[in-house]
């Protein structure tokens, strides 16, 4: 697990953790059935509170991405990772929808928006 945290960011720590684990699952870096680090070891590694890691794991479990076995540990769920990928695509779609809405309140036309996208995709 290679997780990078940004303390000063407005994004909560637990969300940064769960988001990066989610990415690892979708990308295949973490495979179905694979064990995750224990709450306490990950907390020690990232130098954050075990409660915060627990909150990230709880969230991922509520999303069906993890399963936790009492007394053993947490494992990547066997559910189709395609479902997770689909959920993330909807997240992304919402991000774009929000950006487009704000762009329109600035008076940008559809063509302006496509222009911005083209420029950003070149990087």
């Amino acid at each position: 697990m290679n997780i990078l945290l940004n303390n000063t960011s407005m994004v909560p720590i637990y969300e940064q953790v769960s988001e990066q684990i989610k990415s690892a699952v979708v990308s295949g870096e973490l495979k179905a059935g694979e064990a995750l680090p224990s709450v306490r070891s990950l907390a020690g590694e990232l130098k954050i509170s075990a409660l915060t890691v627990k909150k990230a794991y709880d969230y991922l479990e509520s999303q069906g991405i993890l399963v936790t076995v009492h007394g053993k540990g947490s494992y990547v769920s066997e559910t189709n990772t395609e479902l997770i990928a689909e959920a993330r695509r909807q997240d992304v779609e919402k991000l774009f929808a929000d950006a487009i809405e704000k762009a329109k309140t600035c008076g940008m036309s559809n063509e302006d928006i496509k222009g911005v996208i083209d420029i950003l995709l070149e990087d």
Copy 2:
């Protein structure tokens, strides 16, 4: 002033207020030199605390969008609104950049992204 508030949203009320005033200035709905509603009257109209409106006005003043004259009221700043519009365009660009970054972590290609944009722009 036609301001819509969403109490259940995680976005602070003072930010919703300042953001919508900003939009009104950029769009030209509020012109340079024009008076804004007094802190108390807007608070009454929106049924929120005067302190919350004040916080929104303070933020806009720190951004150079408003000027406040003690004992008289608050007015749209005479500064070039084009500068404000440019700042907002950069905000929008950052929103798109963030969305694209997240899209790529989901494995979406440039073509996928353009497809999503096209669909969203049709609405």
Copy 3:
């Protein structure tokens, strides 16, 4: 009377008015016994409330710089202008004392301060 006002400044209007009249008296631009513009005419000229001009005149009267004759108008007091000049010099001295105090909290030495003064006096 040639008075310049700055609406956006933190300095109250009435203080800007009284301060500039004080300067005119000390500099000799306004001589002892000379009549000042009426409250209403000065208010009209400066496009401010008559109450604000009245407050400025009241302040100057409390300082002994003006005398107001009911039903006639306001006049520069016959008191020795040297007394007024002395009062202003004490104001100035306090300004320098405050500046020096703040300079010291920044770690500036006496030599540093003299250097700054020399540079500013050259302009």
Copy 4:
């Protein structure tokens, strides 16, 4: 934290607080990365409202002097304190420039001003 408040002064309390913390940072009394007292504890210590302390911290954060981590506390920013010291030196310079301007409207010569400075520096 040794902060002295003057309730009768016209200077707002939140400004007195932020100014004194700024001084402590510039003088090195508070070092980069060091934790500040919590909003509530400082409020209790100074016997003022937590909201007033918060306003002071917010101002210092907007100046880049503090960083605040949600749920943890506020810390002196790691940015070069030399930049802050430079900003304060400019503040001081403006104070002296204002004092000199007023001195000149009182008819004081450059020599007069230097004389006043010399006397004040001896204390």
